[in-house]
Amino acid sequence: MAGDVFADLARHVDRAFYRHLYPDIAATGLDPVAHWHGHGLAERRRPNVWFDTAYYLDEYPDIAQARIDPLLHYVRHGRGEGRRARPRQASALATLAEARPAAARPVGYDAPANAPILDATQLAARLIAAMAAHAGPLARGGIGLLVAASHDRYIDVTGGIQLVLADEQAACAASGTTHLHLAPAIARLCLADTVDPPGLLQVTLDGVFQGLVPAAAAVEAIAAVAAAMPERPRRFAVHSPLGHRTDALRALAEACGPDAVYWLHDHTSLCEGFTLLRNDLEACHAPPAGSMACRICVYGAGRAEHQARLRALFDAVPFHVLAPSRPTLDLWLARAGLPFASARVCEPATLAAPEHHAGAAATDAARRDDGPLRVAFLGYPLPHKGWPLFLDLATALALDPGAAPLKLYHFAARDALRPMDAVTSVAVRVGAGARLAAVEALARHAIEAVIVASPWPETFSFVAHEAVAGGARVLALEAGGNVAAMVRRHGAGRVFPTGDDLLDHLLSGRAGEEIRAARPPARPMLLPGQGSLGFLHALLGADAR
């Protein structure tokens, strides 16, 4: 390879990307630049995130026939000739190709292998033992047993609903309340009413996995607890109905007594497509089920039945509806048309000004205002979290490194990182034991802006809150629901009409100055909430503990 060829390719073959995408090459220890030029291009491998080799060779047969390095051709000539490195709307087409109703997706097996199957008597015995272990009488208005249902085993998964459940369980532990969590043994992102035979539930008691139980046995066990310990009231909270049968949720609610809670952590109660993205692409605003937008959407055909099942559940159970944010509640009140006992905003976590909290980190040693602007993406690299926009930014910088003085970071769990030469990958796992891991990592790396470009009405967004608590400004989209709302409410960043506007701003060269000028002198604190318990205690007039 001639020196000038190597130099041009070395600038555009993304070694980290190539090694991650092709572990076979990484294992050989070959330099990705040499492998690409010698073999990879003939094998139609991808040299980086923005160049689609197969597309370029198919779209421009003159290049394929000339048997020249297509990437080299593009950067030296093709780009100037107006050729494209990848199809128009490439990420939208990829999303569309994958979009399908949840029932048509493969089911995820969530329960650990060889988990014991409990019967009603065994579960009742464990519940009674756990409740008895909380010494002394309950405070006035206290709750003996809080039964919570969601779509997966929260203790082993990182995500917003799981964090709320972890906070709820921690609050229960502090209040003498036993916390029983039930998740379907087989993870499905749809209601499981038509699944036959009825599936098993995974049991997590006070944060510790116990095994599996048939839903009917769980109901029976709760009834047995009620008979054995009538002085310790029970309550029920639905954090997500997905993967559950609605008749089972109803039976659990009835076994637990009054004041059942239903959380709007996502928009499942409006549509099975719980992000309210038509075909997983564009915000749909939950139009009427028979609308044209629903007809052309993959979630449209099943929506009426999904809504009918939820209506039957809400008709039977007078839920107290808790919305993590005002925009979520407003949307639900405008669109759901479901009966409810009460409906209110209940934030799963709050930002508190540092001056109101002694001991808050007012400044950070790592904080600095020099060099390129440090911009991050935080969390799973998914389209509905705005990852394609972050890739577009990385691409713009790769093609024109002088476009703007920016340095890019990605913070996520190790298996969710997508290594690229131009992006600093930082592994971070947030969980019950490391609640502020992301906040601290952002502060440690002195991140100044976090792109939270969710294109759907986010109900809360821990990521946006973590970004602010980590000392960064949030760059959001108008369609982003509570991300946009919290940015405005806290003056915590900037909201853009479209993704292109956001990119234009970052690439304009003025973003750094504006973001640095707007950063507050100290980071606010991110305070966890109590899940359903805070609301229930207020409702029941519980004594503070």
């Binding site: 569309l96 564009e282 139009p287 937008a293």
Partner: protein, 348 residues
């Protein structure tokens, strides 16, 4: 307008598309009478699907003089398009106040109010391929230049009022199409479509329907931006999306759609339509070859022989049934005398 008769024309290969048209049209205009013209031989197993239409006509029953000879002059697309004017004229003769043709690869979304209004004010309603000039070189080439070769108006849609002018147009168009309905743009012909460039000159009371919501297709997406509002209504440049024409989706139409889509909606519509067509498919019919693509013994008819048949009166005089096989047939003669016609075309 009190009675509207709407029709489409297809072979078994396009039955699933026609069923999507029928269902989507029925949803917004249940009062319109739907007629299907099947330009194919009757086939077992089709009756249940065809019940979607109010009336089904087979091409052989349309009353075309010397029908086998007529068919032999045309390939599949030419035959389907050549019979449209006769079909429409028949609907007018039967007393419909207005007759509308929609291609089978069209789907209807919202009521076609602007079409009905245009039909109240004009005898003939046409939709142009493009209604706003392009300024990008490639879009000019793909759009305006292509329209200059294949026709200014897209004849996937036409509406005709049952009055003197409307009937005169239908008769004129029928005459042209039944005498020469070829895919030969270099000669100034493109099936039934190119003739209609003349319509605004030859007839009074012609409406060029410039509603951006009507006949949206990959060939005009460069100037038509689709949107969806909070109530789930689809619109184009602010007008309700009346009907979308899925021209060559699954082929070159996909390339054009990706090239000119201004947001994700055209991609979503195309994906939705392909899904609907797949679901509407009738087993055994969708992949059935066209009945008149081969001689009676199943040997494929070479395109060159259709051309020769069209151009040489002596052949037409000598062979009464050009589809016949066996001794004394056109097929036997061609195999012996004109083997060159059976050679694959150059470049294939």
């Amino acid at each position: 307008m009190s009675t509207i008769a709407c029709c489409t024309s297809f072979t078994w290969g396009y039955l699933a598309r026609a069923l999507v048209l029928s269902r989507t049209l029925r949803a917004v205009h249940p009062e319109w009478q739907q007629t299907a013209l099947v330009v194919d031989a009757p086939a077992a197993g089709a009756d249940a699907a065809l019940a979607a239409f109010d009336r089904v006509v087979f091409a052989a029953d349309l009353g075309v003089p010397a029908f086998p000879a007529f068919l032999f002059r045309h390939n599949l697309v030419e035959a389907c398009t050549a019979l449209k004017p006769r079909l429409l004229a028949g609907l007018l003769d039967a007393g419909a106040d207005g007759a509308i043709y929609l291609d089978p690869d069209i789907a209807v979304f919202h009521p076609l109010a602007t079409v009905l209004r245009a039909l109240e004010q004009a005898a003939i309603v046409l939709t142009p391929h493009q209604h706003v000039p392009n300024d990008d070189e490639q879009a000019i080439r793909d759009g305006e230049r292509t329209a200059q070769l294949y026709g200014v108006f897209n004849l996937g849609f036409v509406a005709i009022r049952n009055d003197t002018t409307g009937r005169a147009f239908a008769r004129w168009w029928q005459g042209r199409c039944e005498s020469d309905c070829r895919d030969a743009p270099a000669e100034g012909l493109f099936t039934d479509q190119r003739y209609c460039d003349l319509v605004p000159a030859l007839f009074p009371d012609v409406a060029v329907l410039r509603d951006p919501g009507c006949n949206v297709a990959s060939w005009n997406l460069s100037r038509r931006r689709l949107s969806s509002d909070a109530e789930g209504r689809l619109a184009v440049e602010g007008s309700p999306l009346g009907f979308y024409h899925f021209t060559k989706i699954g082929g070159v139409g996909d390339v054009m759609t990706r090239r000119y889509a201004q947001n994700t909606l055209p991609l979503e519509l195309a994906t939705w339509w392909r899904r609907e067509v797949a679901a509407a498919g009738v087993p055994g019919l969708g992949d059935r070859p066209w009945a008149w693509d081969s001689f009676a013994d199943g040997t494929p008819i070479p395109p060159g022989l259709r051309h020769a048949w069209r151009e040489e009166p002596a052949l037409r005089a000598r062979f009464a049934d050009p589809f016949a096989a066996g001794p004394g047939s056109l097929a036997a003669w061609a195999a012996a005398e004109r083997a060159d016609l059976f050679a694959p075309p150059q470049g294939a």
